[in-house]
Symmetry: C2
Subunit: 390 residues, 2 copies
């Protein structure tokens, strides 16, 4: 039923699985809209075991996608969690069945604002309903149902992926054995909303955005989207990481007394901006950042975060990074305090790292060891055999 099942933002054919939700089974959204049809684009790695007890749902971050551990169809780069996923790796494909779906509102195959609205035959653009983290999770549940999985062994993700993890654990606690929210928070802070708003305004300020209707005008707000990405990218790194990586190193031998990229850090940021626009849709960026802004678990539970977790049997492993200033450790600690307040099963590790928020995407041995230990222990509890590769 999907109108554009295999075309991404860049018009490239996107490989992988599709689940189509038809008119007969619309997705009920928080804004009140019943959305149909809906396509959910997803990838899997490893094999689902006979009793379907070894499934791990990976939730991707703002600009991530379902190509977790394979060459990206647009950029040609390795998957964003290639370090983590594979035979004998932390997310061991010999042991677990891994699922990752492009989020609702995204631009890599799952229904989003760049897709055609079947009612009009034109791209949704800003008539696409504003979605929430809860809506993304509802779409993922439909996929998990479709795959016949009664309980996920684990739901795991960093940043916005971690918001989905928390939402899963609260919304569908019986469907989740373990939850691993990484570098995340139970709500978007004022500073995070502020940074998201700067990104949105950079896009909206671009005349190529055309009030959101650029898909109808054969233009793209590439310059605004690139600025949004540049601003966001700074927040993903720590000052120490930027200093170590670039310091005040020059591109050439001396200052040019001009506005070209004299400093390596400028060149790097410009590159981040210009490559991003080739693979991402500007309206998706608006919708997905908005979903993050709206996320506030406590607000949905009488303003008391602990109430969200009351009675939960989910085993949590909460992980933060010491130099992450976008989702700093106190945000994770607030989640842990709430879990402790209802005597939930939770372990918490603040990984010492100077790599900033992006540490969850990088080869950070303490992080991998923490996660590995937690998953091994949980797998034993769940009675999952070790992978063939071990």
């Amino acid at each position: 039923m999907s109108v554009s099942p295999s075309n991404g933002a860049a018009g490239v054919v996107l490989p992988g699985h599709r689940l189509e939700l038809g008119e007969e089974a619309p997705l009920h959204l928080d804004c009140g809209v019943d959305l149909a049809p809906v396509t959910i684009a997803y990838q899997t790695y490893g094999r689902l075991n006979a009793d379907k007890s070894n499934a791990i749902l990976i939730c991707h971050a703002l600009t991530g996608d379902q190509y977790v551990a394979e060459r990206h169809p647009i950029t040609g780069k390795p998957g964003w969690w290639e370090e983590m996923v594979g035979p004998g790796r932390v997310l061991d494909t010999d042991r677990y069945f891994l699922i990752c779906a492009n989020v609702l509102g995204g631009c890599m195959g799952t229904t989003g604002p760049a897709d055609l609205n079947p009612a009009t035959g034109k791209a949704w653009c800003l008539s696409f309903p504003v979605i929430t983290i809860g809506d993304m999770v509802r779409a993922q549940l439909r996929l998990v149902d479709h795959l016949g999985i009664d309980q996920l062994f684990c739901v795991i993700g960093g940043s916005m992926g971690g918001m989905q993890v928390l939402d899963w654990a609260v919304r569908y606690p019986h469907r989740v054995f373990t939850a691993v929210p990484i570098a995340t928070a139970a709500r978007h802070s004022a500073q995070n909303i502020a940074f998201a708003e700067v990104g949105r305004q950079a896009i909206i300020a671009d005349p190529g955005w055309c009030g959101g209707d650029y898909p109808l005008h054969d233009t793209k707000p590439h310059r605004g989207l690139a600025v949004a990405r540049m601003a966001a990218h700074i927040t993903y790194l720590s000052e120490a990481a930027l200093h170590r990586k670039f310091g005040r190193n020059l591109q050439g031998r001396e200052l040019t007394y001009g506005f070209d990229a004299d400093f390596q850090v400028e060149s790097y940021l410009r590159h981040q901006g210009s490559t991003f626009v080739e693979r991402f849709d500007a309206n998706s960026y608006l919708y997905i950042t908005r979903a993050m802004d709206y996320f506030d678990l406590a607000a949905d539970h009488g303003g008391v975060l602990a109430n969200a977790f009351r009675g939960s049997k989910v085993r949590f492993c909460v992980i933060s990074f010491s130099s992450d200033w976008l989702f700093p450790t106190p945000e994770s600690r607030a989640v842990v305090h709430a879990l402790n307040a209802v005597a939930a099963n939770v372990s918490f590790v603040e990984v010492a790292s100077d790599k900033g928020h992006d540490a969850f995407l990088l080869d950070e041995p303490e992080f991998h060891a923490t996660l590995s230990g937690f998953l091994d222990g949980a797998a034993e509890h769940r009675g999952l055999p070790r992978g063939d590769g071990r």
Copy 2:
């Protein structure tokens, strides 16, 4: 000799003093250009005493100007350091003679890219030479010479103003009795360059910028400049300040499921952006941020910051704020370490504040008390009588 002595970015007549440097006395710039004519627009408060020993030069920050303690001619708002300046205040106008000049490259009367290039009869735009913090200080020296002041009792400023303070103390140590660099650094860090570059790219991405030639095309890159200001403004506040001020408070009673400013912090940021463009020139923003990027005191002294201060008799009071993440305390500490390494006269205070970088502009009692104590002590050493108001 200035071609536009009294018109600011907004075309408003700007009150105050002007020093005109003619063709016969050009300003030699770091980039190699001899710039002439040059106008220096400045304000003064209080009276210069008979032996000209009570002058304090105030150096303004990136988007500040010479209207330190009076109604701003464009915005109509109080001066940016009104809290600090006046009879009986920390910068006591009964005791001191205060001077503040709009920086070279600025847009409030001092020569900058929006002014006419006398050689062409057109606005300089991007043909204006790229200037440095040192160039700004050289221009200020000409003003101090013009006023017949042999030694400034104090040079003081926050943020980019603090860079000028450090540059003064290093470049002209005999002309400075005390130096007070506040919330600043001896070099722009990689993260700071990155944020500056995002601002510049937001401006450059605006088609209204016209390759920098907008003054010739009757357009203005208002949207890009507003985005630049919004991004920068976040860096001026702390996460705690944003949380205390706005948290996740809504504008209306509930979420609108749209892209209007649902959250108060969004509305606040948009306001910051839209009011800024009324008073500031986009090309000036490019030039001044570039001057900050280029600032690196150690680089000019063999890579060893201490060498910059060797033999200095200047009395330093270095002040930082605990929640300032744009110019964090370690940057001030590096300056203090360098001063200590050459046995310079320095006191250092990290003021406990949750107000972020902007704390230097705000009513922060510990900051005011620190400054007051230091200036009183120094004035005693210098033999300055107390002000009439005390």
